[in-house]
Point group: C2
Chain length 422, copies 2
C-alpha cells in the first residue's frame, strides 16, 4: 500500500482533530479503505503555541512554502479559516497539482470561480464536504445522490450558534441579549458574533449549496441576508401561539429558472422536521422532484465532527482515479428579488376603535389577505398595543408596500418574519 504524503495549512482545534483521527483510526483506514497517510508539514502561525493534541514539533513550520512548494506533498488540508491567505494558498496548491481538502466556507464562497477553475485546469482534486454543516454529508448528497432530480428547494439550519440562541430563547422565553451573552461565555458564540448572528456564515454556506443544487453560480452577494439581532422574546412567544418555531433558515428555491437564495429568521410549523432541530445541531431539508422530501441532520460544527468530514474527503481524494470537480457555472442570470410566502407581521398600534380596520385596509389594498390576528398584552404608556398578523401567502413586495402605507401615528415598530410551511 502506497503511503500518501499530506500537508496541513493551519492547526487549531480542527487541525488537531484531523491529526488525532489519522492517528487513532489510521489502522482501520488502512484495513477498510486501503489508504495510508503520512504528514509532511504543518503550517502554523506560532510553532511554539500549545495545542489541544500533542503534535511533534518537527512537523510544524511557519513558512507556507514548506507545505505549498513541497513536491512530496500530494494533498493539502486547509483549516486556517478566513478569506485570505487561505484562498490564495489553495489556488497556489491546486495550480501545483496538489489536491485540496478544506473546511473553509468563507474562502470557498468568496473565491469559488477562481478556486474551481484552478482545480479544473490542473486536474487536482477539490474536496469541501466539511465547509458546510460539519459532519453532515450534504455536499455529497447534492452531488452524488440527487443527480436524477431537479432540486426545487433547500432549507437549512446551517449555523449552530444562532440555532443555539433561538432554541434557548424558545425554551426559556429569554431575551436575545441575555442568551447571546451566555453563548459567548460557553464558547458557543465568538466574542465578536457578527459572522454568525448577522447571517454571514450561513450566506457563505448557502452560496455553496445553492450553486451545487441548481447548477448555476449563486455568488454570496446575491444571497439576501438578515440576521437574528432584531428578534425579541415576543416574536418567539407569538410564533408559539400560532404553532410556529423560529429558526435562522437558509432558503434556496428554483422556479421557472429564477433562483431565490436568502438567509433570514423564519418560522416553520412546529410539526415540520426542521422545527425539532435544536441547540447547536444543523439540518438541511431538501426537496427534489423525484426523491421528494429529505432531511440530513447532525453536528454542524465542532472539532471531531468537522475532522470526520475532512478525513472522509481526504480518503476520497486519495482513492480517486479521476477527481470529480464542480463545473464552472455562469452566474445565475435570474435571481429573485421578491418571493411569496406567509408573513408574520408584528406592530405597535394605537389602541382605539377603527385602527384594526385601517391597518387591515392597507393590507387589502395591496391584495394581502390576513389569516389571523392576535392582540398581545396590555396597552403601553403611549396608548399602544402589540398586534400580530399572520397573512396568507403573499409577495414580500406587497407586504412591504402595505406596511409603508401605514401611518406611523396609527402603528409603528413594524416587523416582518417570513414563514416557510412547505
Amino acid at each position: 500500500m502506497e503511503t500518501i504524503r499530506i500537508g496541513f495549512l493551519g492547526c487549531g482545534n480542527i487541525g488537531c482533530g484531523v491529526y488525532r483521527l489519522l492517528q487513532t483510526h489510521g489502522e482501520a483506514m488502512r484495513a477498510n479503505e486501503g489508504v495510508a497517510f503520512d504528514i509532511g508539514a504543518i503550517l502554523v502561525r506560532d510553532v511554539a503555541k500549545k495545542r489541544s493534541w500533542a503534535i511533534p514539533a518537527s512537523l510544524l513550520t511557519d513558512r507556507a512554502e514548506d507545505v505549498l512548494d513541497n513536491p512530496d506533498i500530494a494533498i493539502v488540508m486547509e483549516f486556517m479559516g478566513g478569506e485570505q491567505p487561505a484562498a490564495s494558498y489553495m489556488i497556489r496548491a491546486l495550480k501545483a497539482g496538489k489536491s485540496i481538502v478544506t473546511a473553509n466556507k468563507m474562502a470557498l464562497a468568496t473565491h469559488w470561480d477562481e478556486i474551481v477553475s484552478a482545480a479544473r485546469e490542473s486536474g487536482a482534486g477539490l474536496y469541501y464536504e466539511a465547509s458546510v454543516c460539519g459532519a453532515i454529508p450534504i455536499i455529497r448528497a447534492i452531488n452524488d445522490s440527487l443527480q436524477a432530480n431537479r432540486v426545487t428547494s433547500l432549507m437549512g439550519i446551517i449555523n449552530g450558534t444562532t440555532n443555539y440562541i433561538l432554541s434557548r430563547m424558545s425554551s426559556e422565553g429569554a431575551d436575545y441579549a441575555r442568551v447571546l451573552a451566555d453563548a459567548q461565555r460557553l464558547g458557543l458564540a465568538e466574542p465578536d458574533p457578527t459572522a454568525d448572528v448577522e447571517g454571514y456564515d450561513a450566506a457563505y454556506k448557502l452560496s455553496i449549496l445553492s450553486t451545487l443544487a441548481f447548477h448555476r453560480h449563486v455568488p454570496v452577494d446575491c444571497v439576501y441576508r438578515e440576521g437574528i439581532t432584531g428578534i425579541s422574546a415576543i416574536d418567539v412567544a407569538c410564533g408559539k401561539e400560532f404553532g410556529l418555531t423560529l429558526k435562522l433558515l437558509a432558503v434556496a428555491k428554483e422556479e421557472n429558472g429564477v433562483i431565490q437564495a436568502r438567509v433570514h429568521p423564519t418560522f416553520v410549523p412546529d410539526h415540520h422536521p426542521l422545527a425539532s432541530v435544536s441547540d447547536a445541531f444543523n439540518a438541511v431539508y431538501v426537496n427534489g422532484d423525484a426523491c421528494g422530501e429529505m432531511m440530513f441532520y447532525g453536528r454542524g460544527a465542532g472539532d471531531m465532527p468537522t475532522a470526520s468530514a475532512l478525513v472522509s474527503d481526504l480518503i476520497k481524494a486519495a482513492k480517486a482515479k479521476r477527481h470529480e470537480l464542480p463545473a464552472v457555472h455562469s452566474a445565475a442570470e435570474r435571481m429573485a428579488d421578491d418571493w411569496t410566502c406567509v408573513h408574520f407581521v408584528r406592530m405597535m398600534a394605537k389602541d382605539e376603535p377603527g385602527v384594526l380596520s385601517k391597518v387591515a385596509g392597507q393590507f387589502a389594498d395591496e391584495g394581502v389577505s390576513i389569516a389571523s390576528m392576535v392582540q398581545k398584552g396590555r396597552c403601553n404608556s403611549d396608548g399602544r398595543v402589540q398586534l400580530v398578523f399572520l397573512t396568507h401567502r403573499a409577495s414580500e413586495r406587497s407586504i412591504r408596500s402595505a406596511l409603508a402605507r401605514i401611518d406611523g401615528d396609527l402603528a409603528s415598530e413594524l416587523h416582518i418574519i417570513r414563514v416557510e410551511n412547505e
Copy 2:
C-alpha cells in the same frame, strides 16, 4: 459523449419510474453529469401487460438472455424483487462483467457473499443504494462519509408500512388490525403483509447496513427479529404516558467486538429525532465516534424516490473509472444474544394486596430495578388489572428470567418492549 447501453430486469412501478426519469431528466444528466444512456432491452414476465408509463413494445422481452447475454449492455438495472431468479441473474451479469444497479434487499441480503464475490472477481460494479430506504443515501453515508469513524450504533425506521401503521395507532389510539386493514386498502401494505409486519424486510436491510457499518458480515439469520403483530393500542397509550413513542426499529450496535443486530418494536423518547418520523417516512440515526449523532430522513419507498436512488447509482456506475466494491468479510464471529436496555413490561396481574410486592420481588432477585410503575384501567372480570413497569437498564436475559419466575396465577399475558433512549 459516449452513450451507455443498459438493460432492465423487471419493469413494474419502479422500473417505469426509472424509465420515466431517464426520459424526463436525460438532458439535464447529459449537461450536468456528462453521461447518456440508451435502453437495450427490458425483461418482463408479460410483454402485453399495461404499465404505468408508456414503454415502447420493441424494448420488452420475456427472455432473460436478451438482457444478460447481450454484449452491448454494460449496466443491468434489477428491480424484479424477490430472492430468485433475481440473485442468480445478478450473479450471471456480474460474472459477464456487467455492472449491477439494484433495489433488491432480499436478494442482496440473502446472497451477499456470492454477489459481492462475483463483482470482485470480474471488477464489475455493484450499486445498491436503492435497496435500503429508497431515496435516502444511507449506503453512501456509511461507505463514503463515515470512513474516519468507528460506528458505534445505528438505529433506523427502515420499513415504511410498519411506521405508517404504528403512526396511525399512535395518533388515533386505533387497534393494529383495523389500521392494517386500512393500510391494505390504501395499498400501503401488501395483501400478505408478513414481510413487513413481521420485520423480515427490515432484517434484510439491517443485514446490509450493519455489514457495511461494522466491516463484518452480519447475515440475515443473525438478525434478531420480532414484528409488530403483538402490539396493542394499550402499549402505544401506556408508552405515551411515559413520554415514549413506539416504532419498529432496526438496531445495530458494536461494543468490544460484539455486534448486536435486532429488529423489534421499540420505544424511543418523544424528544428523540426518530420519534417524529411518522407515516411512511424512513430515517436512520447513526452514531460515530468522531461525527457524533447524525440522522438521514426521507421517503423510504415509492416509485420515484426509489428510482431517484437507482438512477443516481446508474450515473455513478457509468462515471466510475474503477468501481468501489464492498469487501468480502468473514462473518461476524461474535453476535450478541443478549443486550442491555430499559424495558417496558406489561402484564395482567391479580388485583389484590401483595401482588405488586411479589412481582417486584422477582425483578429484584434478578437484579432488575424498577424505574416506574402504573396501573392501567379497571379490574377485568377475572379480577385482573393491567400493570405496566419501566425498568432501569437491564439485560434482556435477566428480564426474561424474572418474568419466567412470576407465577401465572399472580400475573399473566407478560409482554416486553425494549426502550432505546440514546
